[in-house]
Symmetry: C2
Subunit: 217 residues, 2 copies
DNA sequence: GATTTATAGTGAAAAAAATCACAAAAAAAC
DNA sequence: GTTTTTTTGTGATTTTTTTCACTATAAATC
């Protein structure tokens, strides 16, 4: 079984979700491939690896496929997520409405700057960093987002680990190290831009295909 | 030459930048590997592929290395970038101070919602989408960021292509297709979270290593 | 109901990427 | 100034990932 395959499965699931809400009922491997940006063979191979099967000459039933993928991906229960750092990125994430439909809920944000604290109905509360540990332990939260300046990232990671967080998306432009006990996905938005710039400046538009790669550790 | 290698080179560059500002002068392949999350052999192999050499038993001179990488990456001139969509993500990016030191400058934002328009000193102006084309053409801007709702993304892409944009980072959770004439880097933040959730829910913390992969097309 | 056709499924082959293993060379130690 | 140590550089090898080439099968057509 292929490591990258897992990320592709998540992509398939998201694409199928979209196609489903658009009213599609059945899909062929090449449509799905197209939506996600891979080859049809790859889609079928991935499915084959995970024991997903469709109907020969009939394609795949979208709802059954989504169900199967959700099962494989363990996306049955709503995942509660906390953010540390209520600045630009943290706020953007808090305000984003698109998480819920993927079974993700941002339940709280923690900051050290008291001017950021807020407690409103309908909005995500911003609390003192000191409250993180109790909050996370009480609600058994497993996933956290780091949206603090680079300089504070390692320290925040330590707080999160102490609180029992098991998975982190880190937006600080520094590679935080995970462990057997905690997976970290380092997302570097500047790098996303730089990558594009590289291809433009060097006229490598030809080099089409999957290119970027993040790191989980 | 390896495709992923290019992204690693950008990572090396960023890490070196950081180490440099921290006062380091020279570095060994294993330090750099550590900072970026790869093996020392990989670092040397990558450098070898791009004709970068250091000093046996002496490691690499950081400033010379940065210069060489900048040369290879074509990061000599300041890159001006426009955003379309002045909402949550667009605003976060506009306010972010970390681009300039990587030679990137957000010069303007375009939106269809007049309530978002603003023209202040010191801040990035938000203008009407209709002004995009002239602005981009006049300043010969090559790079754009799409930060509009999914439903509007394809249309915005068309506007950008018409304006002459050659490279795009797209935050809408839909795969926009590039062409020989335009590179698109689709960034999906929900997927970044979902990936972490997958690893936690399935107890695959063991599966340490580089995992995530974005797409440029 | 036979034939054609489109599509899934998959072992085999190819391609791509990472790692290994070791030579070369520079610095350090003696 | 010789030996040891440390680190780079890279061809060879291994591993991983993708693609190919083909079979099986269900639907559509005749
Ligand atoms: N905004 C962007 O578009 C953008 C782009 C690329 C990368 N990033 C990275 O994302 C991270 C956040 O960026 P931002 O623009 O939102 O920054 P920001 O300065 O707007 O927000 C950071 C927040 O973290 C809080 N904070 C600082 N130290 C803390 C600590 N120890 N514990 C808890 N909270 C703390 C601050 O009070 C502030 O509210 C940074 O590492 C940045 O480099 C941001
Ligand atoms: N905010 C997040 O944390 C987050 C997370 C994941 C993905 N995204 C994606 O990023 C994109 C932007 O998200 P957001 O939260 O910033 O949305 P938002 O609704 O806050 O902002 C969207 C902006 O785009 C403008 N807009 C709409 N149609 C437009 C058009 N045709 N031309 C120009 N401008 C137009 C709107 O006026 C608005 O200002 C969305 O596709 C979203 O799915 C955002």
């Amino acid at each position: 079984m292929n490591k990258k395959c897992i990320i592709r499965l998540l992509r398939y699931k998201n694409a199928l979700h979209r196609l489903n809400t658009l009213g599609f009922v059945k899909i062929f491997s090449d449509n799905l491939a197209d939506a996600v940006g891979v080859t049809a063979t790859q889609v079928r191979k991935d499915f084959s690896l995970f024991g997903i099967s469709g109907n020969k000459r009939g394609g795949y039933q979208i709802d059954a496929l989504i169900e199967k993928l959700n099962g494989l991906m363990g996306k049955d229960e709503l995942q509660e997520v906390v953010i540390v750092g209520g600045g630009n990125i943290g706020t953007a994430l808090m305000k984003y409405k698109g998480f819920e439909k993927e079974g993700i809920k941002i339940v709280a944000c923690f900051d050290i700057d008291p001017s950021k604290y807020q407690k409103k109905e309908k909005e995500v509360s911003v609390m003192a960093l000191e409250e993180l540990k109790d909050f996370v332990k009480a609600r058994k939260i497993k996933i956290g987002i780091i949206a603090v300046p680079e300089i504070a990232a390692q320290q925040v990671l330590d707080h999160m680990l102490a609180a029992g967080i098991k998975g982190i998306v880190n937006f600080a432009p520094i590679r935080l190290r995970g462990s057997a006990d905690c997976v970290i996905n380092n997302v570097n938005l500047v790098l996303e831009l730089e990558t594009v710039i590289y291809f433009i400046v060097n006229g490598l538009n030809k080099m089409i295909g999957e290119i970027h790669e993040d790191q989980k550790s």
